[in-house]
């Protein structure tokens, strides 16, 4: 596998990474906190409740335990919620279901060891960024797809009603759009809507 010329930005930013830990202060909690501090992250610990996420939080490390299953963390439903790394003590279906709901890209098994946390952090940050970019890309594709569809419909209507070719229909749409200083899909949308009104 090829190495890049420079260290990835995600790793270079670890020393300023703002991490929220939701974990009780026990052996796992101590190990987690100590290792995050060795890595050099900016860490804040909460337990068990956290109603409001501190501003600027970039990563959440969270114990998934029977006692947290009934708690609700309202910020988890927010679309801009930072990535969550669950710390998993029980590997039963109930717990795993929770991990799936958290949309986690990496987990930390309990008992927590120092090794593994850094890779989990890098994975979670990298994959959540990649996933967000992918979602945005899909969103743009869907919008574009909708535009193409409405233009196609408008062309078809004009071809049928005026007996013009597809290319002529398109040029008509285009000149109308330029004349009215509107997007071509807006003009197409009006034509489709008007056509629907007429054809009841």
């Amino acid at each position: 596998m090829k190495r890049s010329a420079q260290t990835p930005a995600i790793l270079r930013g670890l020393r300023t990474l703002k991490v929220v830990v939701i974990h009780p202060q026990d052996q796992d909690g101590d190990e987690l906190l100590a290792q995050l501090q060795r890595i050099g992250c900016d860490v804040e610990v909460f337990w068990p409740r956290l109603d409001c996420l501190p501003t600027g939080t970039e990563l959440i490390v969270m114990a998934v335990r029977p006692e947290t299953l009934s708690l609700s963390y309202p910020w988890l439903d927010h679309p801009a919620c930072p990535p969550v790394i669950p710390v998993v003590a029980y590997e039963n279906p109930t717990t795993i279901e929770t991990v799936l709901q958290l949309n986690a890209f990496a987990t930390i098994p309990s008992p927590v060891r120092s090794a593994g946390l850094l890779t989990a952090i890098a994975l979670a940050l990298h994959q959540s960024k990649a996933s967000r970019l992918r979602e945005r890309y899909i969103e743009r594709l869907e919008q574009k797809q909708a535009k193409v569809r409405v233009i196609q419909q408008a062309k078809q209507i004009m071809m049928d009603s005026r007996g013009v070719s597809e290319e002529e229909a398109y040029q008509l749409l285009r000149s109308q759009a330029m004349l009215r200083r509107e997007q071509i899909e807006a003009v197409a949308g009006e034509i489709v809507k008007a056509h629907e009104r007429l054809s009841f």
């Binding site: 420079q6 790793l11 890595i39 090794a115």
Partner: protein, 395 residues
């Protein structure tokens, strides 16, 4: 197990040792072994620890990672050892860590390595990259320039050191002219080819992360193609007195090494330790950074055993962090949080007698920061060294 080993208060305290007597890195490992023996003999002469002798159980892993793992387990299970001294290449340490963690034993590791590790079952007494690579990068980029050729042995530690160096070169607008990795057992011809290529490329300096027997090949190849170390030195954080002793000073003079110890260090503790070492093992022998770490870590271990009255790793883990010792390099301290050691970074250049002239030194001991990713070079390496300019002008 603890009760068994400490049942008789007169029984010796057994400590396991895993240094290789043969294989690519055995030259330096043997110096670590002798340093360990020297320290133990000194401790025993002074009455031992807790009135008990320290007894070393030395096994030879022959530079093979799988042997390190199986012999570590053998030390723990058959020899009833709770503390192991040893390992050199990262692959050998990584092989032993699962064993010491499983049996809750303790490993003392006296070799510089690439960082990004912490185990509660390991005490790291060699330099982390911020204690050797960073000072070296700062010093070389300031004094020689930022067009750099990199040559290293093909394993994890060189990749990591080159990553750090590459980042720093790019930050300064420099250029990585070439990056070569050679197998640990690569023949002389490979080094000769590399030296010829480097001569063509004419970088400002060469950053070497070659370890073991390849070091001698590299420096000899460099000399044989007629490169001048005073103008275009090889800079390394691994090449040490043991390698110079193998190659001879004629080949090495002018090349630069970053380390936390050189034999030439003029401290009372160092002069005395070197004198005792030579008296015990022979006048012709040299010491080096790995030797020194192996030597002082034994004193830290003995102090810890004394404080807790046992060689039980669980108890030792409580007192080792924060422990200090007047080592040959100066006062060292095991960090409270990462099990690595505060050390004194130095820059040395090989002189005509095969010793390192110290041409740069950190004003204070430096805390090990094994997890730092984004590096900055230390301020003390930011000023041009007038001695270097003079020596270059003279020639």
């Amino acid at each position: 197990m603890t009760s068994e080993t400490s049942s008789n208060p007169l029984d010796p305290i057994k400590i396991g040792v895993l240094y290789s007597g043969s294989g690519v890195t055995s030259a330096v490992e043997l110096t670590q072994l002798r340093a360990t023996v020297l320290a133990v003999e000194e401790l025993n002469r002074a009455g031992g620890v807790l009135g008990r002798e320290i007894e070393l159980v030395c096994l030879d892993p022959q530079c093979q990672p799988r042997h390190y793992a199986s012999l570590a387990e053998q030390l723990i299970l058959e020899h009833r050892v709770r503390v192991i001294i040893g390992c050199y290449m990262s692959s050998t340490r990584k092989a032993v860590i699962p064993i010491v963690e499983r049996h809750n034993a303790l490993l003392f590791y006296a070799t510089p390595y690439e960082g990004f590790e912490y185990s509660r079952n390991v005490i790291y007494t060699g330099a982390a990259p911020n204690q050797n690579t960073l000072p070296l990068a700062g010093f070389m980029l300031t004094n020689f320039g930022s067009r750099v050729c990199m040559i290293g042995s093909d394993y994890v530690c060189p990749y990591e050191s080159n990553r750090v160096m590459s980042d720093l070169i790019l930050e300064r607008g420099g250029e990585k002219v070439d990056e070569t990795y050679l197998a640990l057992d690569a023949p002389w011809e490979s080094y000769l080819d590399a030296a010829k290529r480097i001569k063509q490329l004419a970088p400002d300096f060469i950053f070497s992360t070659v370890v073991g027997e390849g070091i001698a090949h590299l420096y000899r190849a460099f000399a044989s193609v007629g490169l001048d170390p005073y103008r275009m030195p090889i800079a390394s954080h691994m090449t040490c007195e043991a390698d110079v002793a193998i190659m001879g000073s004629a080949v090495c003079e002018g090349h630069i090494t970053s380390a936390t110890y050189f034999q030439s260090l003029d401290t009372i503790a160092n002069r005395a330790a070197v004198a005792r070492y030579r008296a015990r093992f022979g006048d012709e022998l040299t010491t080096n950074m790995c030797w020194e770490a192996a030597y002082f870590q034994m004193y830290l271990l003995a102090d810890a055993i004394r404080r807790v009255g046992s060689d039980d790793p669980t108890l030792l883990q409580r007192v080792l962090p924060g422990l200090e010792f007047d080592a040959p390099q100066g006062r060292v301290r095991i960090d409270e949080h990462n099990n690595h050691t505060y050390l004194h970074p130095l820059i040395g250049r090989v002189n005509a007698h095969g010793r390192f002239d110290i041409i740069g030194r950190a004003p204070d001991r430096v805390k090990a920061d094994p997890y730092v990713v984004s590096h900055t070079t230390p301020p003390w390496t930011a000023d041009v060294n007038p001695d270097l300019l003079r020596s270059r002008g003279d020639r």
